[in-house]
């Protein structure tokens, strides 16, 4: 079974999956390996990274030197197709006109969703991250714990390939021996910060990213993932053999034609298709879940974007993985006699407790990095090092005025120039001619930047609802966002800014660039989660610890919508681990005839 059109769908499937990103990709992979017949509805077009990735184009090869435009918000060669902060014909609205209360929503409409261009940062949540309320009395505990998810973190890491090291730091879990791929060498500015941060007692360690620093062990991993299933082992092994290791060049945000990093389109979907158990319908925009008279999901109603017609697909189980915001929208739009407010929304909780990461950044210039002998720092197409949150103990002792942690991501490498002026007027002091070229060369590689990625605590002011008036071009009601940071986040951002200033100054540098607003707008970090709270009780949540909605037991949410908290760790690895876990549950329940 392959990529098909709506007229080619089967009369009924075991499972219909909405969305093909991290959550949908992992779900399709897990279910098809177990022999379930699946259909995947994807709102965007089909996309083949092997033939559509402009990996080596120089800025001079593409319009406007690859700078962002309203058509391609992260530049021409960015792997996002038909997406960005704004999608033509598919608006979203704001409850407030105040700039600081606006929510920015990044969507991609393409096979593989945002996994084609994400940053590949793949950090595990730690044990505390599943039980935050037990620790500090704020927000919500998850009904599941680290031990429930740990086996799935390991499986996902083995399948997709994640580099990094095990450092044994608090709430920063190790992976089992042999799971992580070798970490890449540190770059000049990363090693420099590592040395100086030691003086501040701050650990700078190898980051974990979903990039193959060597080929996956295709002879052994499949047998560990799927013992006693030679057919599936062969499919998974063959797919792993098609992936080349990183060749230490190009920006991962453009995507990877050699399949060295994780994209749903290069890692999850090819083996899922190879089982023969998956049909993918691109250009299929799901509108609502179809509910049977028995109160169970019967399939999905969608718009075939190639014709504009409404189509239906029938399935015994429905999985929503359209990204947390779109999944919320689907639930709210799935109105019926049973559920006049939308599925799962009897208690009014759908759309509530949306969280993003706290983002703020400080940049500086460090003289010791000037005039370094030219050397290649492309590396693994993104950061090699980071700083995990290091002040759990201080927080416990009440020494900080915010309750949760942040990690630090860096930039400041001898990255690909072009599309921007490498020598600011401030540093250039009016230079032009040969003098300018000399000064630009001197300062190139001496700018560093530090970025906070911190945990937001869920609050009553950050939520999404259906806009009572505005609809998209197919007449489907759109989301209206509400956003307010609390002092928790503002205090965290202020702490981060102070810390980053200390980094730059300890290295002998000067702060040069600091965002005017200390904290970025909601959504800007593109780590939005929540809106369909997972909980232990039906009264107080939308789904249970298996990502299964309380209202409709054959309906599952397989993206970040169920997250009750948003640890500083970027969400995607956890989305995938939970999707695999939910998939296993679906398989087991289906066998028992429970769904």
């Amino acid at each position: 079974m392959p990529i098909i059109t709506s007229s080619q769908t089967q009369p009924e499937y075991d499972v219909a999956i909405v969305g093909s990103g991290a959550g949908g990709g992992q779900m399709a992979f897990t279910l098809t390996m177990a022999g379930l017949k699946c259909v995947m509805l994807e709102a965007g077009r089909s996309y083949v990274p092997e033939t559509q990735t402009a990996m080596f184009h120089r800025p001079e090869h593409v319009p406007l030197l690859n700078t962002p435009t309203p058509d391609k918000h992260m530049g021409f060669t960015d792997a996002t197709v038909d997406g960005g902060w704004e999608v033509p014909g598919e608006p979203y609205t704001q409850a407030s006109n105040k700039d600081e209360e606006k929510f920015w929503w990044w969507r991609a409409r393409m096979l593989g969703g945002r996994t084609n261009h994400w940053g590949r940062m793949s950090l595990r949540n730690g044990p505390l991250d599943f039980k935050p309320r037990s620790r500090d009395g704020l927000g919500f505990d998850w009904p599941i714990g680290y031990d429930d998810v740990e086996p799935y973190y390991t499986k996902v890491e083995m399948l997709i390939g994640v580099f990094g090291t095990n450092e044994g730091l608090e709430n920063t879990p190790n992976s089992p021996a042999g799971v992580l791929l070798p970490a890449p060498k540190g770059r000049a500015s990363e090693l420099l910060l590592q040395k100086h941060a030691k003086k501040l007692n701050i650990p700078v360690i190898s980051i974990h990213r979903a990039v193959l620093t060597r080929p996956l062990d295709a002879d052994n991993i499949p047998a560990k993932l799927f013992p006693n299933n030679p057919k599936v082992q062969k499919i998974v092994g063959d797919s792993m053999r098609m992936r080349a290791p990183c060749f230490w060049a190009t920006d991962c945000h453009r995507g990877c034609a050699i399949r060295a990093n994780y994209q749903s389109t290069t890692v999850h979907l090819p083996p899922a298709l190879a089982t023969g158990n998956l049909d993918i319908v691109p250009n299929a925009h799901a509108r609502e879940v179809i509910l049977g008279k028995d109160g169970k999901a019967k399939g999905v109603l969608y718009i075939d974007k190639t014709t504009g017609d409404e189509e239906r697909v029938k399935a015994k189980v429905v999985v929503l993985a359209a990204s947390s915001g779109e999944t919320v929208r689907l639930l709210l739009n799935s109105k019926s006699a049973h559920f006049p407010q939308g599925i799962g929304n009897g208690n009014g909780l759908v759309g509530k407790y949306v969280m993003d990461s706290v983002g703020t950044s400080v940049g500086g210039q460090v003289p010791i990095l000037e005039n370094l002998p030219p050397h290649n720092e492309d590396g693994a197409g993104g950061p090699h090092f980071y700083i995990p949150w290091w002040q759990y103990q201080e927080q416990l002792k009440g020494k900080l005025d915010f309750a949760r942690g942040y990690h630090v991501e860096f930039n400041g490498t001898r990255g690909m120039p072009g599309g921007r002026n490498p020598l600011s007027d401030e540093l250039g002091k009016g230079a032009y001619g040969t003098k300018f070229k000399e000064e630009a060369r001197r300062y190139y590689g001496s700018n560093v930047g530090y970025t906070c990625r911190g945990e937001q605590i869920p609050n009553d002011d950050c939520f999404a609802e259906l806009d009572p008036e505005v609809k998209d071009k197919w007449g489907i009601p759109v989301l209206r966002w509400h956003w307010k940071w609390s002092d928790q986040e503002r205090n965290m951002a202020a702490h981060a800014a102070k810390t980053f200033t200390a980094f730059i100054e300890t290295m002998g540098g000067t702060v040069r660039a600091q965002k005017k607003a200390a904290i970025e707008n909601g959504g800007r970090v593109i780590h939005e989660v929540g809106g369909a709270l997972m909980g232990a009780e039906a009264k107080k949540s939308v789904c249970n610890g298996w990502n299964q909605t309380w209202d409709v037991k054959n309906l599952f949410l397989s993206d970040a919508a169920p997250f009750p908290s948003n640890a500083d760790k970027n969400p995607t690895l956890t989305i995938m681990a939970l999707a695999w876990r939910t998939g296993d549950y679906i398989i087991e329940q289906a066998k028992k005839g429970e769904l």
Partner: protein, 219 residues
């Protein structure tokens, strides 16, 4: 909806709040206060799903703007800013003027704003060349070009009556640099040696580690 029900497809093309779409600035006064009218760009952008694998050149997506005279000024000024020297070729041989033309001809807000600044700026510098040396900028001697540029480059405080010229110079330099360093020769000039596939990544070489007083901590 419940199984068996139907929904009529309602098309609603209501204007919605587009709070982040900046308005095109094609007819506004330029940001530096030049009051010249600028020809309006009506072309379309490259869309949300352009063919990515192609190698493009300026003019492929929208028509270019510079007249022969404007082009002459741009070539001359870009080559003063990025001359041929021990750090590489002159800007014009790297097609920097073409990229600048592509830039100011693009139908997007940032570029339209730069258009409204650059086109009148070119007129200004020509006027200044006429006034001081009674010649067009491109025909000036190197010394004359430098005399003019030195007054507006920002190395020394720019005189009040030349402030507009100073802002123009800075914008021009920034755009020219963006293009210059987006080329292979520009990379060499800056010391960027990447974008080439390698069998291993070895990190900074020993002389870099020594200069920084650090060790490679990833073995």
């Amino acid at each position: 909806m419940t199984e068996g029900e139907t929904t009529a497809l309602r098309l609603d093309r209501r204007q919605v709040l587009k709070w982040f779409a900046a308005t095109a600035a094609s007819t506004q006064l330029s940001e530096f206060g030049f009051a010249a009218a600028v020809p309006v760009v009506t072309a379309k952008g490259y869309g949300t799903d352009p063919e990515l694998m192609k190698i493009y050149k300026p003019g492929d997506f929208w028509p270019l703007t510079f007249t022969a005279e404007q082009r002459k000024t741009v070539v001359a000024l870009a080559d003063v800013m990025f001359p041929e020297d021990h750090l590489g070729p002159a800007a014009s041989t790297l097609r920097v003027p073409d990229y600048m033309d592509e830039w100011i001809s693009a139908p997007y807000p940032i570029q339209q704003k730069d258009r409204a600044a650059l086109l009148p700026g070119l007129q200004w510098i020509e006027g200044e060349a006429k006034k001081r040396f009674n010649a067009d900028f491109a025909s000036l001697s190197e010394a004359q070009k430098h005399a003019l540029c030195d007054d507006i480059c920002g190395a020394a405080p720019v005189k009040a009556e030349l402030k507009k010229g100073g802002a123009f110079f800075s914008k021009f330099r920034s755009l020219a640099a963006s293009a210059y360093y987006g080329t292979e020769a520009g990379w060499k000039a800056l010391g960027y040696v990447g974008n080439i596939s390698l069998p291993t990544f070895d990190g900074p070489p020993p002389e870099v580690l020594a200069k920084l007083g650090v060790e490679q901590t990833v073995k």
